[in-house]
Amino acid sequence: MIEFRDVSKIYHVGGQEVRALDEASLAIREGEFVSIVGPSGSGKTTMMNIIGCLDVADSGEYILDGLSIDRYSDRELAHIRNDKIGFVFQNFNLLSRLTAEANVELPLIYQRITMGERKKLVTEALERVDLIYRRKHKPFELSGGQQQRVAIARALVTKPSLLLADEPTGNLDSKTGAEIIELFHELHKAGNTIVLITHNPDVAKTADRMVHILDGKVYEEAIS
């Protein structure tokens, strides 16, 4: 489902060449729960950006759902992100002015789905994360865990091919963090493909498979 073939990404920082990804190769099958771990500066953020179609590789090939992502325009990439990727961020990244349900509705608006259909999908997604009773609340009226669950609902609402979570427990206390990880496991059992990016080994270990990144190279480690 996801395939990296010798993907390289080079940044130029102050005249210096930084190889954020150095001929990295990786394959993730549909329905897998994979964690990507590595210290900061290892290239895991770059990998996430490329997986999430926010950035494109300089060389090599990235294939998502059979689509070779390097060939698309900004506009097409926006549509691919909208259709296939559900993002969950460390700092939730909800729009503070909008209510929980309006936040969840947002990706559907960009898909030009009719209002009645949107209402139905939003309700489904919020029920999935047990927050239907908070749907009229704005982010600042919700706890961190609740905000992250709204963010997960937003990621789920388009029924994406892939849930891409970047340090989803980084801003949460350990108990709430564990609840969120538990939610990811439930979603995985329901058939979702999940890629979890973290530097926390305890979180990473709960996945089916762990992928280590170090200096832009991929090292795999299977979990028994």
Partner: protein
């Protein structure tokens, strides 16, 4: 969505709108004031009769103009009616009421030219003129002054030592001319006045109407050549005044005034537009993360562009709407202050211009900030710490 971001920061949105509001008020109110005032003046000038020529003789070269001369001029096919007008201030007396009044001497045609209506009795007749009859027609002010509300017909009034029989009372004259002269007006046959004043100077002031509205130019030419012939080809011995020229002048002046004031107001609208651009730029920077989030979940460049463009348009159009409402109120107040003299109307044309301007400004000054927003890279925008 545009409304949410505008209501999220009410004071700022209002202040941004204020530039547009003031600009629209300036544009709509100033232009409406000028056009209403100009309509009113034009209307007043029209009541003087645009279909008439006024001739003044300044130097008769020793050959005073007589009624016979005017009679001959009126034979010309292009000329309709002619009425001389002479005036003198007399002491008017009826019973115990005494008042200085202006006595006008003229012909029956004068009333016809002005389309005067009578409240009571009749206007002057040709027989009155031919017989130099001591009869007079009162203006409504004169009637009220000397007779109160009582029937004046057949009553005598003493004018400059002579008794005149009142034969008619005019309806109220609402024209500009009557507003300019406050004196009490009384009309008598021309021949009576020449006799009373022992006037041997002849006619110095008369009005001419064309036979029909189309023969105006021809009538003016006829009048001009008649006076030239009569006054030894001296251009400076007389003066012909065409009311429709006055209308044109009034029109030109008010049009220029409209353009001038409209132009100044348009500049203030432009300044309002710059205010919108300024705030939009700040807002785009502040909302960098929002833009990043939106892009991550699937907003395209054009989606973001339209979002911010519509926000600019909404601010601009809301400002425009508020401005038009306030303008309407201000014009109502101006009408109250003018005490019915002039009715200030919101001109639909200028409202449409204001709306068009607001749209143009919203788009023009919203485009650059919106483009800046749309052009942000999603990764950098997501990383932005505001």
């Amino acid at each position: 969505m545009a409304f949410e971001s505008i209501t999220a920061n009410k004071i700022r949105s209002f202040l941004t709108m204020l530039g547009i509001i003031i600009g629209v008020i300036a544009l709509v109110v100033l232009v409406s004031l000028v056009s209403s005032a100009s309509d009113s003046v034009t209307e007043q000038v029209a009541t003087l009769g645009t279909d008439m020529l006024t001739a003044m003789v300044l130097d008769d070269k020793g050959y005073p103009l007589k009624l016979d001369d005017l009679e001959r001029l009126s034979q010309h096919p292009s000329v309709g009616q002619i009425a001389p007008l002479t005036q003198m201030v007399v002491n008017a007396k009826h019973g115990y009421t005494e008042e200085k009044s202006t006595l006008y001497g003229t012909l029956p045609s004068y009333g016809e030219i002005h389309h005067w209506k009578l409240k009571q009795g009749r206007f002057l007749r040709t027989s009155d003129v031919d017989n130099s009859a001591y009869v007079c027609v009162l203006s409504i002010e004169a009637w009220e002054k000397f007779f109160g509300q009582s029937d004046p017909l057949g009553e005598k009034i003493n004018l400059g030592g002579r008794d005149f029989t009142v034969v008619g009372v005019l309806e109220e004259d609402t024209s500009l001319m009557s507003a300019m002269t406050t004196s009490v007006k009384i009309y008598a046959p021309y021949t009576v006045l020449t006799r009373m004043s022992a006037m041997r100077d002849g006619i110095s002031n008369f009005i001419v109407t064309p036979n029909n509205p189309k023969s105006m130019d021809e009538a003016e030419e006829t009048l001009h050549s008649f006076l030239m012939r009569r006054l030894k080809n001296d251009e400076n011995a007389f003066f012909v005044f065409n009311q429709s020229n006055l209308m044109e002048v009034v029109g030109t002046v008010t049009d220029m005034l409209s353009y001038l004031l409209g132009g100044i107001a348009a500049i203030s609208l432009l300044v309002g537009g710059i205010g919108i651009m300024n705030i939009m730029l700040v807002s785009v920077t502040e909302r960098t993360r929002e833009i990043g989030i939106r892009k991550a979940i699937g907003a395209t460049k054009s989606g973001i562009l339209f979002q911010f463009l519509i926000e600019a348009l909404v601010v601009s159009l809301m400002g425009c709407a508020i401005g038009i409402l306030l303008s309407f109120g201000l014009l109502q107040i101006a009408t109250l202050i003018a005490k019915g003299l002039i009715t200030f109307n919101l001109s639909l044309q200028i409202v449409m211009i204001a709306v068009a301007f607001a749209i143009a400004i919203g788009v023009l000054f919203g485009l650059y900030p919106a483009y800046k927003a749309a052009d942000k890279h999603p990764i950098e925008a997501l990383r932005y710490e505001g």
